[in-house]
């Protein structure tokens, strides 16, 4: 199995992928379908704070926001998870107790991944011990780009093992992989090695989640299911700030993977500001008036 994936078995034509994206994104989502999509997108958000200046206070505020998106408007879903640095896992876990919202932690020397495997595994174990429900690891891009796919694959397998019951999201950091061929190969390697989710980016590198990259990864997920029967989740992260973008991605999922993937179990948005834009859109749809940011909390 490992041998088979260590080569480009699926090539991606960039221009055609962009054209496919353009066509998908030209779908016009209006009225009831738009409202449905906005609710769905909210429930798929991994509300994220990954900054050096993060503090316990900041994380607490974010956790409150996660289950109180806009209390003036009842019936809204919670976001799917909070995504934080390892040292913030305990405080997040405590703050979210009883909400049903997961705690996701980045790990494996996020965002660069430049540490030895021992240190990475220790970090993974420690966040899992601290109660993280989901672990977002980064792959070793340097090894990948130098053709050492076996290393990348082994590392993911070991992290997966260290995760235990926690769900593993594998961040490919596609902005550093550059080509869609690489994105596809890295997706295949990650899924073969045990990823529960594959994720585009750390959010620290530009470009982050671009539409052709997401499409390429969704197609990899689809082909993996055809081949193995397993359903792998997908998480674009970084650069998704508007409700319009979120809906476009829902269209992409629906028409690439089918309605089954339209669920937080199999699809997430890694985002910090997306929730509020969606909330504004929901209010606009409800009231008919365009909204101001002043009316939506910015935790």
């Amino acid at each position: 199995m490992a041998l088979e994936i260590q080569q480009y078995t699926h090539l991606i034509d960039q221009v055609n992928a962009q054209e496919r994206v353009a066509r998908l994104f030209s779908r016009s989502i209006k009225k009831e379908s738009k409202m449905q999509a906005l609710h769905l997108a909210l429930s798929m958000i991994d509300l994220t704070t990954l900054e050096g200046k993060d503090s316990e206070g900041k994380v607490k505020q974010l956790c409150y926001k996660a289950s109180h998106l806009h209390d003036k408007y009842p019936g809204l879903p919670n976001v799917a998870a909070i995504c934080v640095y390892p040292n913030m896992v305990p405080i997040a876990k405590k703050s979210l107790d009883g909400t049903g919202i997961n705690v996701a932690s980045v790990a494996t020397a996020f965002p660069s991944g430049m540490a030895d495997i021992k240190a990475k595994l220790e970090e993974v174990k420690s966040v899992v011990d601290a109660g993280a429900d989901e672990v977002d690891m980064v792959i070793s891009r340097g090894k990948f780009l130098s053709g050492n796919y076996g290393y990348v694959s082994d590392e993911i397998s070991q992290v997966k093992e260290a995760c235990g019951k926690a769900h593993l999201k594998v961040i490919l950091e596609t902005g550093e992989l550059v080509t869609l061929d690489n994105v596809r190969l890295a997706s295949d390697i990650a899924m073969e090695a045990g990823a529960d989710f594959i994720k585009t980016s750390t959010g620290k590198i530009s470009p982050a989640a671009t539409p052709p990259v997401v499409l390429t990864m969704l197609e990899a997920v689809r082909d993996f299911q055809t081949k193995t029967g397993k359903k792998i989740g997908m998480k674009p992260a970084g650069g998704i700030g508007t409700a319009k973008q979120a809906i476009q991605y829902l269209v992409m999922i629906k028409e690439t993977l089918g309605s089954e993937w339209l669920s937080p179990d199999l699809f997430r948005f890694g985002a910090s500001s997306l929730a509020n834009d969606i909330l504004m859109q929901i209010m606009k749809q409800t009231t008919g008036q365009y909204q101001s940011k002043d009316y939506f909390s910015i935790d």
Partner: protein, 287 residues
Amino acid sequence: MSERINIQKTYKLYIGGKFPRTESGRYIKWADKKNSTVVNICRGSRKDFRNAMVSARGAVSGWSSRTAYNRAQILYRVGEMLEGRRDQFMAELTLQGLSKKQAEKEINQSIDRLIYYAGWADKFQQIFSRVNPVSLPYFNFTSTEATGVVAAIAPDDSSLLGLVSIIAPVIAGGNSIVIMASESFPLCSISFGEVLYTSDVPGGVINILTGYRSELIDHFSSHMDVNAIIYCGDNEDDKKLVEMNAALNVKHVIQFPVQDWAKDQHQSPYHILKCQETKTTWHPIGV
């Protein structure tokens, strides 16, 4: 001393790089004006044309896929061979009624025309091909490609220069040709076949038939495997017949009126273009 008996030439067809007699066994008596020389010319038949078409079709892909440089050299070689056979053509052209001076001019110009087109063979594509600036992230280029098999009714009044002026641009462009020689002056058309035979033109690329226009023109223009038909002449009924028949398989129709082929304006890369298709290719530009 007894007079030596001449060896008279048998004029045959030129098909597939060989000199067969007409399969029909028929002949046309051809005599010079003084009736002093009388020869038998093959009266080419529908089946001869069919056989020539088979040869031409068989030869075209090989010929068109040769390098342009190679085609240029072969055309040049045809010119060389013609130069070396001046005497034979002088004799035939004068027998066909030209003065020595006229015959010499015709031979010179025929040779020069071959050299002219030899020079174009590896250049015309540069003139007529291009990269097109499309408004999409695609590399888009247009190039010329040989039309395929060309059937031609050669000029009747210009037996050598007319013939050469039709053949040279057609084969410079990578096509093969089946050409019906001048009915009135057929002698040096067949001799031109001998030039071709000794000049590295692959068999089947050029095929020369003799016979009656009125008999063959219908077959030339109606054959379903002909890609382009060239008609030289002013006969309105013939022109209409050719155009009607061309509709059967949407042949390209190229017509030349009776004209003085000696004029420089009758040699041009645009003549090569007449038997070229335009192919445009698109490809995305990406990583």
